[in-house]
């Protein structure tokens, strides 16, 4: 039932899962309770890595987009789309965990601080990218259009972030990460680093799996049209 490729993917996936479980153990048992927020701060170990992954996905999307413009390759379209999907997933995760964290600490489910606002806009952009992909016929035209959008999104996110920061800095509730990290105790810091590492690996693997799925689907579709003529 499983061929060797599937078995390899399954193995990689299982290894990554154990990494995740290990990280959750770190987050719950190794990292101490925070003096001000109590145990609820632990959601940071989900929130911050998701945020970093969500934004790293935009970088990956840009790289794939630039490559697909230069190489005119249809395969890169599949990878780009997979990256956008994974990016959307982690952006939503960031927003959800951020909201849940905000409720007990700031007293509100939502606030227009720079990071949340930018993440929200990034979610809209990923969704728009996927909408654009879905509403065009397959082909080099679509690849080019999506590539340009991918570059545009990556170029714009820092500008959005900076402008919202300047708009809201003085209204901002307590930051999630202190600038220097110097008041973060080592156990907390290391758990966070581990989390970033694990989640990035996981996201990369998701992109890989998804990209291969899309390529397979494209192959099947072209094969079915090809057999029509005979």
């Amino acid at each position: 039932m499983f061929n060797s490729e599937d078995k390899r993917e399954f193995l990689i996936g299982s290894v990554l899962q154990t990494f995740i479980i290990f990280h959750w153990c770190l987050a719950f048992f190794y990292a101490p309770v925070d003096i001000h927020q109590g145990p609820v701060y632990r959601i940071m170990f989900l929130h911050v890595p998701s945020a970093i992954t969500a934004f790293a996905s935009s970088l990956a999307l840009c790289v794939f987009s630039v490559l697909s413009l230069r190489n005119r390759s249809e395969r890169l379209m599949a990878w780009s789309k997979g990256t956008a999907e994974v990016g959307l997933l982690f952006t939503i995760l960031t927003l959800a965990t951020g909201s849940i964290w905000g409720r007990p600490t700031w007293g509100t489910w939502w606030t227009w601080d720079a990071r949340l606002t930018t993440t929200f806009l990034l979610a809209l952009l990923y969704a728009g990218y996927l909408l654009l992909y879905g509403s065009m016929a397959p082909g080099p035209g679509r690849t080019r259009v999506c590539a340009v959008l991918g570059i545009l999104i990556f170029a714009d996110v820092p500008i959005i972030y900076k402008s919202v920061t300047w708009w809201r800095t003085l209204h901002q509730p307590p930051s999630m990460i202190r600038q220097g990290g110097s008041t973060m105790d080592p156990e907390i810091l290391w758990t966070l680093v581990a989390g970033i590492f694990v989640m990035s690996l996981y996201a990369a693997w998701l992109v890989r799996v998804r990209g291969r799925n899309i390529l397979l689907a494209d192959e099947i579709e072209s094969a079915s049209y090809a057999s029509f003529g005979t």
Binding site: L122, A127, L132, V164
Partner: protein
Amino acid sequence: MKATAFDQYVTLVRQGLRAEFVDKERLVSPVLFALTMLILFAFALGDLDQSLRIKVYLAETLLTALFALQLSFSRLFEPDRQDRVFDLLRTYPVSYSSLFLAKYTLVLILGSATLIPTMLFGAFLHQSANQSLFSWLVLGISILALAGLGALGVLLSVLTLKAQARQILYPILYFPLTTPVLLAAIQSARLCLEAGVTSPELKSWIGLLVGFDTIYITLGILLFTELMDES
């Protein structure tokens, strides 16, 4: 004799204007939409506190006009789709920068034609004895906002040209991408009306607005030509 890039630009602008004036309804609808919204807001909100009046004025006029314009942005290349003008243009060795700048000029002309009357009419509706909402600087700021928004508007219009779900797709991409320009414009205009021209924050926001405009116009031209280039 091949026309220079500037000649191409002028011709394309004139062609665009002519195409716009053919369908007068397209021209007039954004203005009518914005003015109607102004009157509705005036009825719904009634008399406002001084402190609120500025914020409401800006939301009603600037934002409403820009939203109405966004609808016409998404249809910027509609005239070119008829009679396959767009494809013909691409086969002719036209300079793509000229094409972009021509559409962009169109955006600026038609956008101002919507934006200025809206802001003037709004100032008129909401004026009070001790507070004037009319300011040349605010009008200038709104044109600057149009400059940045128009650049991205043209680019997105081409990107979504062949896409199906344009009604929802265009705004979902347009508003996140143009957030910096909107923020800078609204903050500048608000500070101008509230604190006057001496506020150092005002100078900062206007500077940012100009900076953002530069970045967006440049990006717009670069990516537009990249998109149209087929080699």
